[in-house]
């Protein structure tokens, strides 16, 4: 089991991921929050700059307040647990961590052990 990140209040399920440039393979290892409320995954804006990613398009993105913000999207390669997403479209986030939305989570098996503040995540059935 993977322990929740207790630096968040309440603690949250975070997993280590590898974000790679889609052609050079240059990589960045960071923590990613599991978020079934997100339609699309995201990576920190700082990682976009560090990897020298170029935008592929802009999409309207809405938050809790339903206000639409036009965001550039980028294509990356993502590795999480034993799964590899060769080309994945992501949005930039003003956070230091990445976000795994349903575009990624729907390919994985996740089991939350809330009272234990831990979870399982795998690319094969748990």
């Amino acid at each position: 089991m993977i322990p929740y990140d207790s630096s968040f209040d309440p603690p949250a399920p975070f997993v280590e991921v590898i974000v790679r440039h889609p052609t050079t393979g240059q990589q960045h290892i960071l923590s990613a929050k599991l978020d079934t409320g997100a339609d699309i995954s995201g990576i920190p804006q700082s990682v976009v700059g560090e990897l020298g990613l170029v935008a592929v398009r802009s999409v309207p993105v809405a938050g809790y307040d339903d206000v639409h913000t036009l965001l550039s999207t980028y294509v990356i390669t993502l590795e999480v647990v034993s799964a590899r997403f060769r080309y994945l479209e992501v949005v930039p986030l003003p956070e230091e961590y990445a976000l795994l939305g349903r575009d990624v989570l729907n390919y994985l098996y996740a089991r939350l052990h809330g009272p234990d503040l831990a979870f399982d995540l795998s690319s094969s059935p748990l």
Partner: protein, 150 residues
């Protein structure tokens, strides 16, 4: 008759520097030439030099990105200009615009990332605009974190 040029040899420069001098900021090194002074260098503390190197590295990194952003904008404009034709031919499919023309069209079930990846494999990592041809753009919901404000 051959000619040989006599070159004057110069004594090496010497510089006396009190290390605490750099604590007060950069020090200009001047060469006195007759009645004129010429700046031939500037001495900075190691910390300032490290900060400068980091700044220069960031500048060098951002240059190609700025260039790519400008090229990308041209591809967006081309997509807008080609819109009526794209809608007629490729409704619901993903197209990639590069060099102001369509260079890749996705299969009906392919995503923007799939098509972009194919362009990168074929042409290289270039600023390409990839978009699904649809009259009403999809709105993505990201309810957790704050969004990057443009």
């Amino acid at each position: 008759m051959k000619e040989l040029v006599l070159k004057e040899t110069q004594a090496p420069y010497t510089l006396t520097l009190d290390e605490t001098m750099l604590d007060e900021g950069p020090v200009r090194v001047l060469r006195v030439e007759g009645e004129h002074e010429r700046t031939i260098g500037v001495l900075v503390s190691p910390d300032e030099y490290a900060a400068f190197c980091a700044w220069r590295e960031a500048q060098q990194r951002s240059q190609p990105i700025q260039q790519a952003t400008s090229t990308f904008q041209h591809e967006v404009e081309a997509f807008v200009a080609l819109w009526p034709e794209l809608l007629q031919k490729y409704r619901g499919r993903v197209v990639a615009i590069y060099g102001r023309q369509v260079v890749e069209v996705g299969h009906p079930q392919e995503s923007v990332a799939d098509v972009a990846g194919r362009v990168y494999e074929r042409i290289g990592y270039v600023p390409v605009y990839v978009q699904r041809v649809e009259e009403t753009p999809r709105i993505y919901r990201v309810t957790g974190p704050r969004l990057v404000q443009r």
